[in-house]
């Protein structure tokens, strides 16, 4: 299942990309799994076709998805192609963590609550690693 929130300040396109990357990272989408057609996902979520198409394209550019004739869009890898030097990657990821934790603090969460949330996500993502 993929969930987005229209009330969130995060753009829908970014939520889609993050949601699909999260499902791949957590192993809920494995190599060879087929994604629904753009039209179907857009209709189910009640969003624009182009938004879904752009998200699929971004993940295709990142090396996670591929469009194949007759099979539609398929997950082809569970590790992204490096988009730049390792140090740059780490900086980008840390900025993402900082933004998420900043969001938690602004939402009024206590430090312990934020820590337990982060630990839960780490446990979920690395349990099979």
């Amino acid at each position: 299942m993929l969930t987005i929130s229209l009330a969130s300040p995060v753009p829908i396109h970014d939520q889609l990309v993050a949601g699909l990357r999260g499902l791949i990272a957590a192993g809920q989408l494995a190599e060879g799994d087929e994604l629904p057609p753009v039209r179907q996902l857009a209709a189910d979520l009640g969003i624009n076709l182009n938004t879904v198409a752009r998200a699929y394209r971004e993940l295709t550019d990142a090396g996670l998805l591929a469009s194949t004739r007759g099979r539609g869009t398929v997950v082809i890898a569970t590790v992204e192609r490096a988009s730049g030097p390792k140090a740059e990657e780490r900086k980008r990821i840390e900025a993402g963590i900082a933004a998420a934790l900043g969001d938690a603090k602004l939402a009024g969460l206590a430090r312990e609550a934020a820590e337990s949330m982060a630990a839960r996500q780490i446990e979920r993502l690395w349990k099979h690693a």
Binding site: M1, L2, T3, I4, S5, L6, A7, S8, L23, L29, E34, L35, P36, P37, R39, Q40, L41, A42, A43, D44, L45, G46, I47, G72, A107, G108, L109
Partner: protein, 319 residues
């Protein structure tokens, strides 16, 4: 032979027109009034009253036309074509009244959500879940071949053998040649029309089935298996209904009609009447099926709203 069918045709028209005009009112009246508050309920009642008054007015005019038609035929012709008033009644009055009575009917199309801004979708490619198997396609294809062969076989026999009515007293041979030519034209017409109509229906059916499979199925925020099951059951009914209806029943009716018209051309007026009544009955069956699917879809929307409300009440307060 055709004269005996005229009263039957009139009787059918006398039933078909009022039933068609009454349908939007009866359907809207059967939808329970579940408007959110008193003002919405009063608004819905007002819309129902407008629909009822419009229906009664149209029926009264139609009765007037039928009574006038007993003396002046043009009025009877207008009365026969009074049924298209169904469309404004349904689209402009009944549908808004139905949505006002029960807002879930407004979500039968599109991916709107009952749960504020949260929207959830399944990642299963539904195009791969079609209940129409490869083997099932053999049915419409065999049907196409058999019916085309039955029509084409008529060409192996001579045309204009009679018995046929005609001005035999004037020039029997000229009349025979003219009838033979008319029969041959009808045969070619049936072959071309049936082949192209059925061929077209079969050609677009796979695409129509794919579109039906990818119709919106917005999930509740928690992605409940109950809702997924309801969608899957409804999708199956929809796809199978479209396949058997458009791919088999409709071409079979048109095909049998074409075969009869080709092999028994002298009963043309009888086939015309049967075709007219049969076509109307098929249309009514299609409308009933479509309505049944819409009701089903509205019920699923209600379940989704209930699940979303339950999710919202279960969610812990932020803090």
């Amino acid at each position: 032979m055709s004269d005996s069918f005229i009263p039957l045709g009139r009787l059918f028209m006398l039933i078909f027109v009022p039933v068609t005009l009454l349908f939007p009112l009866v359907f809207a009246a059967l939808v329970p009034n579940r408007a959110a508050d008193d003002s919405a309920r009063i608004k819905a009642r007002g819309m129902m009253l407008t629909l009822a008054m419009s229906t009664v007015a149209l029926l009264a005019i139609w009765v007037g036309l039928v009574l006038t038609g007993l003396r002046f035929n043009f009025a009877m012709i207008i009365a026969g074509f009074w049924w298209p008033w169904f469309f404004p009644l349904w689209f402009f009055l009944a549908m808004p009244a139905i949505v006002a009575k029960n807002p879930h009917w407004g979500w039968t199309v599109g991916g709107g959500s009952a749960s504020g801004g949260v929207r959830t979708a399944s990642l299963v490619n539904r195009e791969r879940t079609s209940p129409v198997t490869r083997a099932m396609w053999a049915v419409p294809i065999t049907l196409l071949v058999l019916i085309l062969a039955a029509i084409a076989a008529r060409g192996l026999l001579p045309f204009g053998v009679g018995p046929y009515p005609g001005d035999s007293a004037v020039d029997p041979e000229a009349a025979r040649v003219a009838y033979a030519e008319a029969e041959r034209s009808r045969w070619i017409f049936s072959l071309v029309v049936f082949g192209s109509v059925f061929g077209f229906l079969l050609a677009i059916l796979p695409r129509s089935l794919r579109r039906t499979l990818s119709e919106p199925e917005p999930m509740d925020a928690a992605g409940s298996p109950e809702l997924a099951g309801l969608y899957a059951a409804q999708r199956r009914k929809r796809v199978l209904g479209l396949f058997w209806g458009s791919g088999v029943v409709l071409p079979l009716c048109i095909g049998v009609f074409s075969v009869l018209q080709t092999w028994f051309p002298h009963d043309g007026s009888t086939w015309g009447l049967i075709g007219g009544i049969g076509g109307s009955i098929l249309g009514i069956c299609g409308a009933i099926y479509g309505t049944w699917m819409t009701v089903d879809r509205a019920k699923i929307s209600e379940v989704r709203a209930r699940l979303d409300a339950a999710d919202a009440s279960d969610a812990p307060a932020a803090g």
